[in-house]
Symmetry: C2
Subunit: 398 residues, 2 copies
């Protein structure tokens, strides 16, 4: 039969990244296109030990239906941890465990957006979230990002032009794809603007613990006096992504609707995954583990930057400074055809990178950027990959 798809998904296509990753299946291709954590960062032995114990001591808890809100002990533990460490969570807030942080942004859009409602996001931004908003009929309005985060003057213009905007979506730390971190001043300004224009803020923070330079900047949620910030946290980058555990601390009234919708999506998050997270936090020195992760990523990031300096900068490619996260955001000189560069990189030079337009509100907007990932490839692969990009750059840029 011929399907009549909903208007919102008619033009929704698999992301450009997936297209690139198809080429990356070729074993000769070196992928700098992924966003996976470093496999050497997975605490394999601890997970195996905890798994054996919970399956021995509490098998029915691991296997039986549970509540949509999430595993009680994990909710309590995260509530105190986030309050103590980040001053996140007030009386009006509650916590919900989700199947990865992706589900949080999707649920917020589902409970707030009528078809055509405006969602304000950084441009560029994380493609998974953008597609999620699109699939629910959100109309995306992009706000440019500067070296210290969202351009707040442009944000104010966007809010003025869209007085019914439902929420502002931001990744304040080591943003995907740009690697940029929002300054404290801009976090305050963003919160003040959200108050003035009465919109919700969704603060997506999957990379916050992966800071390898500089000082932590308080979360926007820590400023939240009137219950308008939804904080989205994740175990994907600090424990393992395939367990699919995220958590949101958000106003209880909003969470209550998100819980009803989550019930209709997946009933609850897999219990093994939730119990692993809880017991990991309970029985392992979590802060020491985060320090280990930071040193793994610091080393990988420094290697990537030195390779970019060696092979790409001499050819006129620039990049944005980073203090954490998984990505380096590079920029080709004006006049160079960026999509063609990325295509030639993977087809002729066997190195996969992500074309920057994939992260835009409109993929057809002009864009000179591409994204490099340093967390997934081995050091060797990074060296060969960036050297190949350098050869391509010299070939094209002379």
């Amino acid at each position: 039969m011929e399907f009549k798809f909903a208007d919102t998904v008619k033009n929704l296509n698999p992301s450009a990244i997936r297209e690139i990753l198809k080429y990356a299946a070729d074993p000769e291709v070196i992928s700098l296109a992924a966003g996976n954590p470093a496999p050497e960062a997975f605490p394999v032995d601890d997970v195996a030990r905890i798994s054996a114990r919970i399956l021995k001591e509490r098998p029915v808890d691991v296997l039986q239906y549970s509540t949509t809100e999430g595993y009680g002990p994990l909710r309590s533990r995260l509530t105190s941890y986030m309050k103590q460490k980040h001053n996140i969570g007030r009386d009006f807030d509650n916590i919900l465990i989700t199947s990865g942080a992706q589900q949080i942004v999707e649920l917020v859009a589902k409970v707030l957006c009528n078809r055509g409602d405006v969602v304000i996001c950084e441009a560029p931004s994380f493609i998974g979230s953008l597609n999620s908003f699109r699939s629910l009929g959100g109309r995306l309005v992009g706000v440019p990002i500067e070296s210290d985060g969202m351009d707040t003057a442009a944000l104010e213009r966007a809010l003025k032009a869209n007085p019914d905007a439902k929420f502002i979506y931001t990744i304040p730390n080591f943003q995907n794809p740009s690697g940029i971190t929002m300054s404290m001043e801009k976090r305050r300004r963003l919160y003040a603007l959200a108050r003035e224009y009465d919109v919700v803020i969704v603060e997506d923070n999957p990379y916050g613990d992966l800071r390898f330079e500089g000082e932590d900047i308080p979360a926007i949620k820590s400023l939240d006096e009137d219950g308008r910030v939804v904080y989205a946290g994740s175990f994907s980058k600090v424990l393992a992504p395939a367990i699919r555990v995220g958590y949101t601390i958000a106003p209880a009234e909003l969470l209550q609707k998100m819980i009803v919708c989550k019930q209709g999506e997946d009933v609850h998050t897999a219990m093994w995954s939730q119990m692993i997270c809880e017991q990991y936090m309970a029985t392992v020195d979590f802060e020491a583990h985060l320090e280990d992760l930071r040193s793994i990523y610091r080393k990988k990031a420094r290697l990537m930057i030195s390779l970019v300096e060696e092979y790409l900068v001499p050819a006129g490619i620039t990049y944005a400074d980073i203090q954490g996260g998984l990505f380096v955001w590079c920029r080709l000189p004006d006049g160079v055809d960026m999509p063609a560069f990325c295509k030639r990189a993977v087809v002729d030079y066997k190195v996969a990178i992500v074309p920057g337009n994939a992260f835009l509100v409109n993929e057809t907007d002009p864009c000179q950027n591409f994204r490099l990932n340093f967390s997934t490839p081995t050091d060797e692969a990074m060296k060969t990959g960036v050297a190949r990009l350098g050869a391509l750059a010299r070939d094209i840029l002379g």
Copy 2:
């Protein structure tokens, strides 16, 4: 702040079942309200053995990001299994692994429904699916259910009255909540009507393997010649619900959109869960396991029926015959206030049952039914629980 919720979720509330289950938290209350599989049916030792092995031999596969489509070996294994055992899956079909079957029905609604589009469902039907359709703006049209399944004459009237209906949602085997199974004749008629009116069928089959009497009836999907049936399968009742693994075999073109939407919901289903399912099917005698389950549920169902006969039938309560599944659907005599009966049951007699109107398209429609579950309670709890209901029935009905 005051939240402006989407129109679709404004009136969406936690299900009535959840309200009942709040009372059930009282340790004195016996719950016949759940829909959980029997904990003694969980293959705990096999899961522990498989878990230890995969974490030892393939830890990175268990922990690293994977593809949205699902774990390759599980997809292949299920594809052959479903083809061989149920004649499900043709050239135009593909398979997607989901985070429980709940996600399948939600994704179908998401890719097909504009706000206000009609979804035809059995009345009564599974509340999780109904809420899922509501949360996406589907307009529910209920078709009464007879002792051999959906009233197909009423279905035809519903299709005629709603020519733009997007899909028909059915649970053909041991339906939740009614326990009713659709006859082969009606399956054929349903498929023919779907063809005639050009709508999709969503065949939700979580209980199909739990037949403890009579002969299996072929799936509607096995009749699907022109690619309009979405088959939803689940490991929740045959392995364990808290692993959250479902699978859909459906036309590839439809699946492709569902995959993009799933990516925006939870990226992929937890890998530990998927690998457990795959290795369970690979290393355990799955058919023998299903036979064990059937004998557990046969015994529990027979006990429940004998208790209903002993305590409730003499008071004028009737029930629908069942050949499988987890539920018995009872009916109070006309004139008895059903919601009041259920409320008194839990408050005064300390036994939780689900009022039937919770499963209706409009919860305020008249309804004389309530649902009993026999899979979760122990035999002892069932005996005490139904005896208490009998006392209440005698008290009210004289």
